[in-house]
């Protein structure tokens, strides 16, 4: 039941703030923070004291005929870990927000939406069936819509919110179709039931083949094959993850989402919401690895491509938050790639560590931005390291973790992914992974060198000073997991729930610290090599640089990277030529053909006929008499000469 409590506390907080205590800003903040703090404590309890074997409990939410949907929870290591991540990181960010948003006009609205988001996110984590997950999936979408559009008076923010919601909806479209297909094939939506329905079944989707063949008009040259269906289900469900986790080609919304307040970016667009996609993939992994399904290859490559593209785009960004956003994209790419490589364990592992250090980085960035009076361009900063020491060292730790420097957490999780790439003999993706690792180091070093080192490039930067404790202490709190999360055996814990390539026996911190090397020296070595290379390159280019030297070195490529390879423009054009045109057409038809021509036409004809018939009434007695007589003659002729009435 405590899981239910964890779920409902934020909701109650949100409702309370929205309905009752909107006026009292202080209290609403405390309410929301208190809710998530309590949630964190409870989830710690769940994490520590509940048995590892999955427990499940559910209420019957809706039952019509053979459609049975329950509102239920599934507590297994996976969800417990995720609970911890969400509440833990969330708590820090809540506290931080109190300082960051201090004095904003809609302080309480902010906390209400934040709690609402937490509620929805926890719902995804705890859901025990696909439909519930979809429900909270949507709620997460809408609460992020509210938070991105928090400063809705800014055109950019309002548009970004809209874009994020719509892009997510495209993903959800696939998701719901996937759910429908699963339900139709396996007759259930509950994860455990599905799993039990699947194992041992050679072709689980065979039942659908016949009807679908009928639908598509099965011809001798093409019929639906069960494996096609299996793949299709996987891909459709994956579409949902694409939307939420901003995988290529649905990645466009995440950078714009940075229009939201920085803590929001930290919570939603680094630690939790975007991770939901990966979490979902791990949750339904058994659906993806059905024998005969080719979904995983596709997923792996989508992740890889996303990681690469995002890293390349990050190279040339100058907005500190956007750089972090693209790095988030590429890290998510890593995770998805891992899932694609049959390694959901490492994916979850990386998700966890990434949640910690990426939140840290964003919060640090937020502190920097505030210090420089909402200046986000790194080229207008510089020399902040001694101005704001605490932000500086925490940010440095975060960077090191992100780049994957031993012994920071990022090293371990990233290494696990690279290792699993090797173990699947998927050399291209391994190389890609290593290359991206190098790129990551490069652009992060660029960020640190330009923003913190050197000397101030602007008034604001020169007068920058450390942020208040309410903002810096969360940084410190997040710095600890950033350092430790790798070695304390999280991966072993995940291994209880998910097929992990190398279930590292959790034998003490020390062994864990060196586990990667003696388990797969190749991966670890290449990883660190990439780091070193990236750092060298960055240092030579950016130490004390006043402007970015890269453009004149690689020219047009830099511009393309800066303009994000023109994906947004492409999509804008696509939408314009497809949906907009259709809408115009439909509107035109409605206005002129149906409403105008047909309806008005009928009306006009009626009136016209009336006017014509009226002409009979000439008013001349002669005519009348004649018509009268004519009528008589007509009647007589018809009745007497005409055929007698037929029956």
């Amino acid at each position: 039941m405590s899981a239910l409590l964890v779920l409902l506390l934020p909701l109650l907080a949100a409702a309370g703030i929205a309905l009752v205590w909107k006026k009292d800003e202080e209290f609403s903040a405390q309410l929301s923070i208190g809710a998530i703090a309590l949630g964190f404590v409870l989830s710690l309890g769940l994490f520590a004291f509940t048995p590892a074997k999955p427990q499940e409990f559910a209420f019957n939410w809706l039952a019509v005929g053979d459609l049975k949907i329950s509102f239920g929870f599934l507590l297994d290591p996976l969800s417990k870990l995720m609970l911890l991540v969400v509440t833990g990181v969330g708590l820090m960010i809540h506290i931080y927000s109190r300082g960051y948003l201090h004095g904003d006009r809609s302080f309480s609205r902010y906390f209400a939406s934040l709690s609402l988001f937490t509620f929805s996110m926890l719902g995804i984590v705890l859901a025990n069936n696909l439909f519930m997950m979809f429900v909270f999936w949507e709620l997460v979408g809408v609460s992020s819509y509210l938070l991105i559009g928090f400063w809705f008076e800014k055109h950019s923010a309002a548009d970004a919110a809209k874009k994020a919601f719509l892009t997510n909806r495209v993903g959800d479209f696939g998701f719901i179709l996937g759910i429908l297909l699963t339900w139709l094939a396996l007759g259930s939506l509950n994860f455990t039931e599905l799993a039990s329905a699947l194992d041992g079944k050679a072709l689980p989707f065979a039942s659908l083949v016949e009807p679908l063949n009928r639908l598509v008009g099965s011809t001798n040259w093409w019929t639906v094959h069960p494996n096609v269906l299996a793949t299709l289900v996987g891909l459709l469900l994956f579409m949902g993850a694409m939307g939420k986790s901003a995988q290529f080609p649905l990645h466009v919304w995440l950078p714009d989402a940075m229009e939201g307040p920085t803590p929001v970016s930290a919570l939603i667009h680094a630690a939790t919401m975007v991770a939901a996609g990966v979490f979902m993939l791990c949750r339904i992994f058994f659906l993806l690895e059905i024998p005969g399904s080719h979904a995983l290859e596709f997923i792996a490559w989508t992740g890889g491509v996303t990681a690469l593209l995002a890293a390349l785009m990050a190279l040339q960004q100058n907005d500190i938050k956007r750089i972090l956003a693209y790095s988030t994209l590429s890290q998510l790419g890593y995770m998805v790639m891992a899932v694609g490589l049959h390694a959901p364990g490492p994916a979850m592992f990386h998700l966890t560590t990434h949640a910690a250090f990426k939140a840290l980085l964003f919060l640090g960035a937020g502190s920097v931005i505030l210090a420089c009076h909402h200046e986000q361009n790194i080229w207008k900063m510089g020399g902040l390291h001694d101005a704001m020491p605490r932000t500086w060292w925490t940010f440095r730790w975060g960077t090191l973790a992100l780049c994957g420097v031993w012994p920071f957490a990022g090293f371990f999780s990233k290494d696990a992914i690279l290792a699993s790439a090797l173990e699947h003999k998927n050399i291209p993706l391994f190389v890609l992974g290593v290359f991206v690792a190098g790129l990551t180091t490069f652009y992060m070093s660029r960020l640190v060198l330009v923003a913190f080192c050197g000397n101030a490039r602007s008034e604001a930067a020169s007068h920058a000073h450390e942020s208040p404790g309410v903002m810096t202490w969360p940084l410190v709190a997040l710095a600890l997991p950033t350092l430790l999360a790798g070695a304390i055996g999280i991966d072993a814990f995940i291994a209880k729930a998910l097929p992990s390539e190398h279930p590292s026996p959790n034998e003490g911190l020390l062994n864990n610290l060196f586990a990667p090397f003696n388990h797969n020296i190749l991966a670890a070595g290449f990883g660190l090599l990439a780091v070193v290379a990236g750092w060298q390159l960055a240092r030579t280019l950016y130490t004390n640089a006043m402007s970015d030297p890269l453009p004149e070195k690689i020219g047009v490529f830099a511009k393309m990277a800066r303009d994000r390879f023109y994906f947004d423009e492409l999509y804008a054009w696509l939408i314009r030529v497809t949906q907009e045109t259709l809408a115009r057409l439909a509107d035109w038809v409605d206005r002129w053909i149906i409403a105008g021509f047909v309806v008005r036409g009928t009306h006009g004809t009626t009136e016209l006929v009336g006017r014509v018939l009226r002409l009979v009434q000439t008013g001349s007695l002669q005519t009348y008499a004649f018509l009268f007589a004519a009528g008589v003659v007509l009647v007589l002729a018809w009745q007497l000469l005409g055929t007698s009435p037929t029956h």
Binding site: T606, E607, V609, G610, R611, L613, R614, V616, Q617, G619, L621, Y624, A625, L627, F628, A629, A630, G631, V632, L634, V635, L636, W638, Q639, L640, S644, P645, T646, H647
Partner: protein, 486 residues
């Protein structure tokens, strides 16, 4: 041979004569009171009719030329009620005649007598005479506004065309008599059943058709409708009202007798004709009314459409059809008279008959506005008013025949189309009442007590027939019992 059967008619005629006599002793200003006197008289006669007769058994007089059965009684009461309301209207209206108010009332009464005789006609002679009594009095009533050219013109048109139709009528009667050798409906029916060969004599059939032409003229059905709009527009509004209700109903009852009593065995030959005429009348009336702006003319056209709907009930040639016709007529009585009473007052106030003269009526007199709206809604055949249930019964009867002959479905479709089109122009009237742009004057209209009374009767009637049709329908069914129809 008992003359006591015609006591009602006698009473009406005497009332008219008394009126004329009383006129000599009444100063011009109080003439209006004579009208109210006539109203009282008619009311008394109406009440008396309920005590005197019950119409359960069929009684004959004057050598079976005059019949008194349920149908006759139903129509007599119908005409009495109509005359009552029309007389109230006329009394309200009479100050527009510079002379001869009481003659106007008296003529209405004489026309009423004619209608009541028509209700009992069981013989071509009585058919002809009663019809002529109605028509001739109407010649005068129509042209009663001697100073207005329209009134005179309408009078002359009605005179000429009316005479023309009665020319056809009598010639038809002559032919029927020539072939069958009788003028009595019952005898004719017997002859036709005993010698079926007679039924195939085209001369006889021609005669019947010519008689039908005469009645069709009264009912204003296509192609004999041509006079209606002009006459409706030209004549004084009370006359128009009485024309649209009384004389139409007279045509109806005579046609009913002809088909139901005189030639039940030949009636089916007319089925196709009746169906066609019904459809044409509905379409013609509805369509022509669409662009119409003159209120009375509009109602003239709509009365053509109504005649078409009535004819539907004849076309199906069964009791359910005939009772539906009666029911529809009853509803039409209240509806049309309500409409005309309002229009009479509005026209008097505005001096124009254009729809726009209704502008602002909602402010000037909510009662009038409401009454006219209800009337229009009822004419359009929308619940919960009389018109709806009447049309419902007629359409039901038509659809029921569809099983026998699919052509009835087409007739039904035509009827529905007519309803649809009619909605449009009735709706225009309502629109003019409530939300016309240019409202000239907001001067409230004061209504005399009798007028209010008349309007109340109409409204109650419309609502009662619409909301509680049971009893009225029972009466209608009782009335048509004597007809020789399935």
């Amino acid at each position: 041979m008992n003359a006591s059967l015609i006591v009602l008619e006698l009473a009406v005629v005497c009332l008219g004569l008394i009126l004329l006599a009383q006129d000599l002793y009444t100063p011009a200003k109080e003439r209006r009171t004579l009208g109210y006197g006539a109203v009282l008289g008619v009311a008394v006669i109406l009440l008396y009719s309920f005590f005197a007769f019950d119409g359960n058994e069929t009684l004959y007089a004057f050598g079976n030329a005059y019949v008194l059965d349920g149908l006759a009684l139903w129509f007599k009461r119908f005409f009495l009620l109509a005359a009552l309301l029309v007389l109230i209207m006329a009394a309200e209206y009479s100050d527009r005649f510079e002379a001869g108010q009481s003659e106007f009332f008296a003529l209405i009464l004489f026309a009423l007598a004619g209608m009541m005789f028509a209700a009992s006609a069981n013989d071509f002679t009585l058919l002809f005479v009663s019809l002529e009594l109605i028509t001739v009095t109407f010649y005068v009533l129509v042209s009663f506004l001697r100073r207005r050219v329209e009134s005179l013109e309408a009078g002359v048109k009605y005179l000429i065309l009316g005479a023309l139709s009665s020319g056809f009528l009598v010639y038809g009667i002559a032919l029927v008599f020539g072939v069958s050798g009788t003028l009595n409906f019952n005898e004719l029916a017997d002859k036709l059943t005993n010698h079926p060969a007679l039924g195939h004599k085209s001369l006889l059939f021609t005669g019947l058709l010519l008689v039908f032409v005469g009645l069709g003229f009264k009912m204003a059905i296509v192609p004999f409708q041509i006079w209606a709009p002009d006459v409706y527009q030209g004549s004084p509004t009370p006359t128009t009202a009485f024309l649209s209700v009384g004389s139409k109903a007279a045509g109806v009852v005579l046609l009913m007798r002809l088909l139901g009593t005189a030639i039940p065995d030949l009636a089916f030959k007319l089925e196709k004709l009746l169906m066609t005429m019904a459809g044409l009348s509905i379409l013609y009336g509805s369509l022509c009314a669409v662009p119409q702006r003159n209120l009375k003319r509009l109602l003239g056209y709509s009365s053509i459409a109504s005649a078409g709907y009535l004819l539907l009930g004849f076309a199906v040639m069964n009791k359910s059809g005939s009772s539906a016709v009666l029911y529809y007529l009853a509803g039409y009585l209240f509806t049309a008279l309500a409409a005309f009473s309002v229009i009479a007052i509005v026209v008097r106030e505005a001096g124009a008959e254009d729809i726009d003269s209704l502008a602002g009526l909602a402010h000037r007199s909510p009662l009038l506005a409401a009454t006219l709206t209800l009337a229009m809604v009822s004419l359009a055949g929308i619940p919960p008013l009389a018109g709806f249930f009447g049309k419902f019964l007629l359409l039901k009867a038509v659809v029921a025949e569809g099983i026998r002959w699919s052509a009835y479905y087409w007739l039904f479709a035509v009827a529905v189309a007519g309803v649809l089109v009619s909605l449009y122009y009735y709706f225009n009237v309502v629109r003019a009442i409530y939300w016309s742009k240019n409202v000239s004057d907001f001067k409230p209209i004061s209504l005399s007590l009798p007028t209010k009374f008349a309007l109340a009767i109409c409204i109650v009637g419309m609502l009662w027939l619409g909301l509680y049709p049971g009893n009225a329908l029972e009466l209608a069914v009782e009335a048509v019992k004597s007809l020789k129809l399935v």
